[in-house]
Amino acid sequence: MLAWTIYISFFGALLQLLLPKGNNTLARAFALLTAFAGLCIAVTSFTQHRSGELITVANYAWIPALGIRFHLAADGISLSLILLTGIVALTGILFSWNIDRRTNEFFAFYLLLIGCVYGVFLSYDLFLLFVFYEIVIIPKYFLITGWGSTRKDYGAMKLALYSFIGSAMVLVGLIAAYVVAGSKSMALNDLAGYAFSPHFQMWEFPLVFVGFAILAGLWPFHTWAPTGHVAAPTAVSMLLAGVVMKLGAYGCLRVAMTLFPHGLDPWGFSLIGLSSWRDVFALLAVIGIVWGALVAMVQQDFKFVIGYSSVSHMGFILLGLMTLNRIGISGAIIQMFSHGILAGLLFATVGRMVYDRTHTRELVKLGPMNLNKAIPFAAITFVVAGMAGMGLPGFSGFVAELMILVGAWRAFPIFAVFVGVGIVIGVVYVWRAMQKAFFAEPGDVISHEPLPPITIPERLGAIILICTSVAIGLYPQMLLKIITPALNSPLFDGVRKGGW
């Protein structure tokens, strides 16, 4: 049944183009319905999932001569991310209720993007995964150039180029692995089960890992992320930061680490204190956490603050993956989910609730409008989202950071301290942005025309996202109970190295 998430989205995209032009409400309602159907399927599968199992969703021969199959399967990790995609997709439509230019096309691209994202998370055949991964670039490029703002052509082009470079690296790596393994099959378990020589893995791993990690915002390849997110229309920012960046992180775990676990082994020599690719990427992840937070702290454009905060939060995910222990990797997956929800919420607040009303994102101009009185709902949403993002207890971010920190203590104690510094800077940038954007200094409040009130779809979207974050924060077991058994599956034998 899960395969229908993909089919429905693609089919919905096609139908969007056939719908009568000019009827915006119809287009929106139809898109909402499609996304809602996808979410329903995701939720049903999520609740029916028995922990530890790998459900085969579809498995047909596709290119028999090459051993390539249309093979979809899901375990606890993919299911969590599919659930995330469903939630962000639905709320994204709620937050794009004000799109009124070429509405049909917008939602067609949007649904195409969603369909591909579902596809990546479900693919069990790596060729299929790569196809979906590659198609994602097309709709996101057109969504930014067509409906974006601020330097949209530059942002879209940069994003597309970075994605293509990453994909090229992944493609080279996958083909090499396929050929070395005897060109028989592209299925994940076949390739993961093949004993590649350690020497081969040692150069394959960084190639594929970096290829995916570019999309996950790995420092120093993160620069596409803030510019792309800022240029994109709100719903697309939500999807980009919320789920598309997770595609990269998911690829790192599912493909790079699963196929080439020996690439994480020590080199046998030490270079400025680093003695394996694992150390290198963990260091880059920590730099990303601190760097992203520092840069977010000095931004003048509200959306850039959120853009850089994504880089910082994605650093947590990569660090969690590099801890190579069960708690750290589980934490990384929870953080993928949590950041997806919270980045969506933050971009929705800044892009839709604030920018679409005030038509400025400069913090110095927003301050005097005293938005906490003008649109209190937006202020409250931002405070809650910011609190959740900075890792305050009770929200999903805390659980994720807690687990990643425990994992980091075990693997790289020194880094854990720097991560602590990153968390503190995280508090500062969220608080700085909140004060500057929503709370005027007494005395320089300027009167302005009353802003349109927050609409029902916006409220609904914000409430869905906040409730999800709180639910995970208070009851993380919900996700953990399917994630940890999935990490115990034979696929991760190499990563486990015989035990956690």
Binding site: L402, L405, W409, G420, V424, P442
Partner: protein, 514 residues
């Protein structure tokens, strides 16, 4: 269920206030106060049904929460927790009464106050680190907005400084506890304390963590420093106190009452519940520098209070001073006594003193700040020590009641402030003689500060401006009477509290076997 109910009650109240919204200000105030009183009644029921012959945890609730991480929902109270619950339940209605004149965004203000109360209740009952830490951190959010949105002209920097300082301390503490969790797999305070008692905890942690490269050898001290920092910022201990005077003086006075009356006790509580039981050996190892810091806290803050002109700032520094005595008592507990049973028994006195002092300072400081709030309301926001003068002649009851509260703060025998300080000094003097001796200086300076207030505000020639200074109204008198009465009762019959907490004190002291 009682403790969960108690924590949930203010949250429900906050939601009710926000849902009702800004319809009628009197209704909002009355509802908020009603919720606070219901909490007080629940706490009194707990107080009544608490078995004071036992020093163990009572009303325990324990459920698995996140089994994967061994996080439990574990609440329970001993005498220490119960006393803090009672203090929070008393201080919050006082804070609300002092906020009666708030006019902007009334529902939000009182909802935040109730949320803060819920965080206090949560933190004082939690027995699992994650659970406790959640409330510890969450309490910052209502406090931040209370200071920022309703505070004085410089409230934003003050609130931000408060938040950032406490967050930095919080993250340091979190990292320490995660390192301990990594080795022990436990977050439970009681289990960790037992491990520490058996001498197992820190050697294990050190052995596990020192395998890593770049790991310094004294890792146990670093973990201690992290936990210490988190708590020391909150109490606060010199030199981590710099956020406090501006936060207390910029906050609306009703909020200051909550901050000083109840929130500062979270730090002291943390020292008793967490730092001493779990990091006892480390505390002992650096006892001398810690005592220096305590002495500095006590003496410097007293001198700073002497130099201030703003009544709220004076009382802010005086709060630091009073909590410094608590810290003196606590560090005296960590003193190595060898096998000397006579010296060891002094620790019980010090412990009882610390508990009394926590409660008494909360009650007294809350009441004094309440008087300051009334002075602000009657004078359009004036609160300089030299702005008034001769008030005794126009407002005798006001001067009398406030005088009682001030004398209680000074430590006059017969009033509540005296007993705690007396017991602390009685216990601490034989244990840490030099530190106690220097700290006496703090008592002296505080006396000068308090007498200075009484003299300059109530005595002297009456200025023209204040000839119409209204005395306490009947409502105010009725509301104040229980607080003032409690000061006398506890001063004359401290057994009322000691009787309930003594077994807990014995238990806590005996845990510290060195």
């Amino acid at each position: 269920m009682m403790l969960t109910l108690l924590t949930a009650l203010p949250v429900v109240g906050a939601i009710v206030l926000l849902v009702i919204g800004d319809r009628s200000k009197p209704l909002t105030r009355a509802l908020a106060l009603a919720f606070a009183f219901v909490s007080l009644v629940v706490v009194l029921i707990l107080w009544h049904s608490f078995d004071s012959t036992l020093g163990t945890l009572q009303f325990e609730e324990r459920y698995a929460w996140v089994p994967f991480l061994n996080i439990e929902y574990h609440v329970g109270i001993d005498g220490l927790g119960l006393l803090m619950l009672l203090l929070s339940a008393i201080v919050v209605p006082i804070g609300m009464a002092a906020s009666w004149k708030i006019v902007e965004r009334v529902p939000l203000y009182f909802a935040l106050m109730l949320l803060l109360q819920a965080c206090l209740f949560g933190a004082f009952t939690a027995l699992n680190f994650v659970h406790w830490f959640s409330f510890w951190e969450l309490s910052l959010i209502p406090a931040f907005f209370l200071i920022k949105l309703w505070g004085g002209p410089k409230s934003t920097p003050a609130a931000t400084q408060f938040l950032v300082y406490t967050m930095v301390g919080g993250v340091a503490m979190l990292l320490s506890f995660l390192a301990i969790y990594l080795v022990t797999g436990k977050f439970d305070f009681i289990e960790l304390a037992q491990l520490a008692q058996s001498g197992q905890l820190m050697p294990d942690v050190v052995a596990r963590l020192s395998m890593h490269r770049f790991m310094p050898h004294n890792i146990a001290m670093i973990l201690f420093a992290g936990a210490f920092l988190g708590l020391a910022v909150k109490v606060p201990i010199f030199p981590f106190h710099t956020w406090l005077p501006s936060a207390y003086s910029e906050a609306p006075t009703g909020t200051t009452i909550l901050l000083t009356g109840a929130m500062s006790k979270m730090g002291v509580y943390g020292f008793l519940r967490i730092l001493l039981p779990i990091f006892g050996a480390q505390t002992q190892a650096v006892l001398t520098p810690l005592l220096w810091l305590t002495v500095a806290t006590i003496v410097f803050s007293a001198y700073s209070a002497l130099a201030q002109k703003d009544l709220k700032r004076i009382m802010a520094y005086s709060s630091i001073n009073h909590l410094g005595y608590c810290m003196l008592g606590i560090f005296a507990l960590a003193k190595f006594t060898g096998g000397d049973a006579a010296l060891f028994s002094q620790k019980f006195a010090a412990m009882d003193g610390v508990l009394l002092q926590m409660f008494n300072h909360g009650l007294t400081a809350a009441t004094i700040f309440w008087f300051i709030a009334m002075m602000e309301n009657r004078s359009n926001g004036l609160r300089g020590i030299d702005d008034f003068g001769g008030l005794r002649s126009v407002a005798p009851v006001f001067a009398g009641f406030m005088g009682i509260a001030l004398f209680s703060s000074l430590g006059l025998p017969g009033l509540n402030g005296f007993v705690g300080e007396f017991l602390i000094f009685k216990g601490a003097f034989p244990l840490v003689t030099w530190a106690s001796s220097i700290s006496v200086l703090g008592l002296l300076i505080t006396a000068i500060v308090i007498l200075g207030i009484i003299q300059r505000v109530f005595s002297g020639p009456l200025s023209e401006r204040w000839t119409a200074f209204p005395d306490l109204t009947l409502g105010e008198r009725l509301f104040l009477a229980p607080a003032i009465a409690l000061m006398f009762v506890l001063g004359l019959y401290p057994q009322l509290i000691i009787g309930v907490v003594n077994q807990t004190a014995v238990q806590l002291v005996q845990q510290l076997k060195f």
